[in-house]
C-alpha cells in the first residue's frame, strides 16, 4: 500500500475525509495503562447491578422482606406517595432546605478557604477551629445550635451549612495550596493584583479540589436532612422517614433510602458533569 495521491489543498482535511477515514488504520498496539475512554451511561451499570441483586435476592426469598422490603413493594409505595402528593411535597421542601444550606455552605467554605489559604495569619486563625469543628460530632452540636438559633428554619439551614462548609473548605484549601508554585511566580512577574491573582490563578487552580468538595457537600446536604428534619419539622423526606421509623413502616423507610440513593447519584452526577465542563482544560488519566 503506497501513498495514495492526495490533492495539494484538499477540500476536506484528510483526517475528516470519509473516504480516507475508512482507510486502513493500523496503529502500534502498545498496552494502554490508563483506564481508556469514558463510556456514556456506563455509570449506570453498578447501580443497575445492585438493583438486580436486590430484586433477585427478594424474588428468590434470599432476602427476607421483613428485613429489606422488596423493590416492587418500594415502587408501589412510591406510586402511592406520589399519587397522594406526599413524596413530591416532602422532596420539594427538603430540596429547598438542602439547597439553601448548600448555597451558604459553599460561600462560607470557599471564602474561609481563600482567606486561610492565602495568608498565614488567616490560616493560623481559621484552620485550627475548622479542624476542631469537623472533629466534633455533629449530633453533639445540635443542642448548642438550638440554643443560639432556635428551632426554626434558620437553625435547620444553619446546621446543613455547618455540615457542608467543611468539605468545601478543606478541599478548596487543599486545592489552592496544591497550585503549582510556577504559576504563582508567573502571576507575580506579570504584576497581577491580589484580586486578579485570585480570579486568574487561585480559583481556577483550586477548581478541581473545589469540585471534589462539592461532591461531598451535595450528598452531605441531603444526608443532614435526616438529622435536622427531626427537629420541629412537619415536612421533608427526613421527617417522612422519621415518622415511618416511629411507626415501623419499613416500606417507606426503604423508599426513603432509595430516594436518598437516587438523589445522591443524581447530585453527584450533576456535579461531575459540571466538573467535566469546567475542567475541560485538564489532560489527566480521567481522559
Amino acid at each position: 500500500m503506497s501513498a495514495a495521491p492526495v490533492l495539494e489543498r484538499p477540500a476536506v482535511e484528510p483526517h475528516l475525509d470519509p473516504a480516507l477515514a475508512a482507510g486502513e488504520d493500523v496503529r502500534p498496539t502498545g498496552r494502554r495503562l490508563g483506564p481508556g475512554r469514558r463510556r456514556r451511561l456506563a455509570w449506570l451499570l453498578g447501580p443497575a447491578a445492585l438493583l438486580a441483586l436486590w430484586t433477585l435476592a427478594s424474588a428468590t426469598g434470599l432476602l427476607d422482606p421483613r428485613i429489606l422490603s422488596e423493590p416492587w413493594t418500594v415502587v408501589a409505595t412510591a406510586g402511592e406517595l406520589l399519587a397522594d402528593g406526599r413524596l413530591q411535597e416532602n422532596l420539594a421542601i427538603s430540596a429547598q432546605r438542602a439547597g439553601l444550606g448548600l448555597f451558604f455552605g459553599i460561600v462560607v467554605g470557599a471564602l474561609l478557604a481563600l482567606v486561610s489559604g492565602l495568608s498565614r495569619v488567616g490560616e493560623a486563625l481559621i484552620d485550627g477551629p475548622v479542624q476542631i469543628k469537623r472533629a466534633i460530632p455533629g449530633l453533639a452540636l445540635i443542642p448548642l445550635l438550638i440554643l443560639w438559633f432556635g428551632i426554626d428554619e434558620t437553625m435547620k439551614v444553619l446546621t446543613i451549612t455547618l455540615g457542608v462548609f467543611v468539605p468545601i473548605y478543606l478541599q478548596t484549601h487543599a486545592g489552592l495550596r496544591g497550585i503549582d508554585l510556577r504559576y504563582v511566580e508567573l502571576a507575580q512577574t506579570v504584576g497581577l493584583s491580589r484580586t486578579a491573582f485570585i480570579r486568574k490563578v487561585v480559583l481556577p487552580g483550586a477548581m478541581p479540589g473545589f469540585f471534589l468538595g462539592l461532591r461531598f457537600a451535595v450528598t452531605g446536604a441531603w444526608v443532614s436532612l435526616v438529622v435536622v428534619e427531626q427537629i420541629n419539622a412537619t415536612s421533608g423526606i427526613g421527617y417522612m422517614m422519621e415518622l415511618a421509623r416511629t411507626y415501623g413502616q419499613t416500606n417507606i423507610i426503604v423508599l426513603g433510602l432509595a430516594v436518598y440513593g437516587i438523589l445522591g447519584l443524581l447530585s453527584d452526577g450533576a456535579v461531575r458533569f459540571l466538573e467535566r465542563k469546567a475542567l475541560s482544560w485538564q489532560r489527566t488519566l480521567a481522559g
Binding site: R66, I67, I142, P143, I146, W148, I151, T234, G248, Q249
Partner: protein, 333 residues
C-alpha cells in the same frame, strides 16, 4: 428535693395565682403535635382565639428539654420520665396537665418483645437473659420497673445498651441479639406480624406506663402572662382529649391517616390499644405513682432523690380534668 445541679428551684409558693384573662400580646410556643391536629379537626382551636399560640413540631423528652433550654418552647408533651431527667440536669420544670388511660394495665403503651426461641413466658423468666436497655429513654425506665416487678436485680439479667431508634429493637430481637426488649405502639403489631411465625411473642408487663404530661419550665410559669395563656391552653387540651375520645373516626381519618400517613388498619390498632382516656381533676394518686418511679430510678441509676410533688404546678391541677369532664357532659363542639 433539689439536686446538686438543680440550682435553686422556684418554690410553688413563689408562683402568683393564675390570672383569669390572658394579657394581649402574650405568645406561647407549644410542642404538642397531636393535640394541635385534634384542636384543628375539632374546631376547638377557636377557643384559643386571642391567645397567640405557636405550634412547634417538637415532642418527647430530649427534644423538648433542649428547646426549653433554648427558650424556644414554652410547653411540651411527654411521658413521665423526661420531667425527672430534666430536673436532674438542672432544668426546673413543672407538669401542668396529665392524661392517663382507663384500665391502664390492659392498655399499655409498651409490651415486652420476646425473641423467637428464647423461652420467656413470664417476667421471672428474664433472669439471666439479655435485655435491650436505653438508659435515657422511657423504655429504659420501664425495663428497670419490669425487673423490680419480677423481683430481679440489674445483675440478674444482662442489660444490653442499645438506643431504640427506628426498628433497632425489632431487628435486635429477630436476630436474637437480645432476648427481650420493650416495643411500643405499632412496633408491637409489626413485630408480631413479621416474626410470630418464627416463634416471636410479646409479653404484657402488667405495669402502668400510661402517663402523658404537659410540662413547662418553671421560668415560664413564673411569668403571669404566660401562665395565664398556658392555663387556657390546658383547658383546650382537656377538651381536645375528650374530642379524640368521642370522635375515633375523625381522629383516625384526620390524624393517623392524613397527618401521620398510617394505614387505616394501623391507626385503628393504635386507637383500640389506647382504650379510654382518663384526665383526672386531682393528681394525688398520680404523684404517688410518679414518686415510685423516681425512687426506683434514683436507686438504680444512682441519682439524687426528688419529691414528685415538686414536679407539679398545682395551680393547674383541676383545669384540664375539669374541661375534659365538662366537654364530655356537654358534648364537644
Amino acid at each position: 428535693g433539689g439536686t446538686a445541679t438543680a440550682g435553686n428551684p422556684t418554690s410553688q409558693a413563689s408562683f402568683a395565682p393564675l390570672a383569669t384573662s390572658v394579657p394581649a400580646g402574650t405568645t406561647i410556643t407549644v410542642g404538642d403535635p397531636s393535640i394541635r391536629v385534634a384542636l384543628e379537626l375539632s374546631g376547638l382551636i377557636k377557643d384559643l382565639d386571642g391567645t397567640n399560640v405557636k405550634f412547634a413540631n417538637i415532642s418527647g423528652g430530649p427534644q423538648t428539654t433542649e428547646a426549653f433550654r433554648a427558650n424556644a418552647l414554652d410547653v411540651g408533651s411527654v411521658a413521665d420520665i423526661p420531667p425527672i431527667h430534666a430536673t436532674w440536669t438542672g432544668l426546673d420544670v413543672r407538669i401542668i396537665a396529665s392524661a392517663y388511660r382507663q384500665d391502664a394495665v390492659n392498655h399499655p403503651l409498651y409490651e415486652l418483645g420476646v425473641a423467637p426461641g428464647s423461652g420467656i413466658t413470664k417476667l421471672e423468666d428474664l433472669r439471666g437473659k439479655k435485655l435491650a436497655y436505653s438508659p435515657g429513654q422511657a423504655q429504659g425506665a420501664l425495663v428497670l420497673r419490669i425487673l423490680e416487678k419480677a423481683g430481679l436485680a440489674q445483675d440478674d439479667v444482662k442489660l444490653i445498651e442499645l438506643p431504640s431508634t427506628g426498628d433497632a429493637y425489632s431487628s435486635a430481637l429477630s436476630s436474637k441479639q437480645v432476648d427481650a426488649a420493650p416495643l411500643g405502639g405499632v412496633q408491637i403489631k409489626r413485630y408480631l406480624a413479621k416474626y410470630k411465625a418464627d416463634g416471636a411473642t410479646t409479653l404484657r408487663h402488667g405495669l402502668r406506663d400510661d402517663p402523658g404530661h404537659l410540662y413547662s419550665p418553671a421560668k415560664v410559669l413564673a411569668d403571669p402572662a404566660k401562665a395565664a395563656a398556658l392555663a387556657k391552653y390546658a383547658e383546650a387540651w382537656g377538651k381536645a382529649q375528650r374530642w379524640i375520645e368521642d370522635h375515633p373516626k375523625e381522629w383516625l381519618e384526620g390524624y393517623y391517616i392524613k397527618d401521620q400517613g398510617l394505614s387505616a388498619e394501623d391507626g385503628q390498632y393504635l386507637i383500640d390499644a389506647a382504650g379510654k382516656r382518663d384526665v383526672p381533676t386531682t393528681w394525688t394518686e398520680a404523684i404517688e405513682r410518679h414518686q415510685q418511679t423516681i425512687d426506683l430510678l434514683a436507686r438504680e441509676q444512682k441519682k439524687p432523690q426528688l419529691k414528685a410533688a415538686d414536679l407539679y404546678d398545682t395551680r393547674f391541677e383541676a383545669i384540664a380534668g375539669t374541661a375534659f369532664a365538662a366537654a364530655g357532659k356537654g358534648g364537644a363542639a
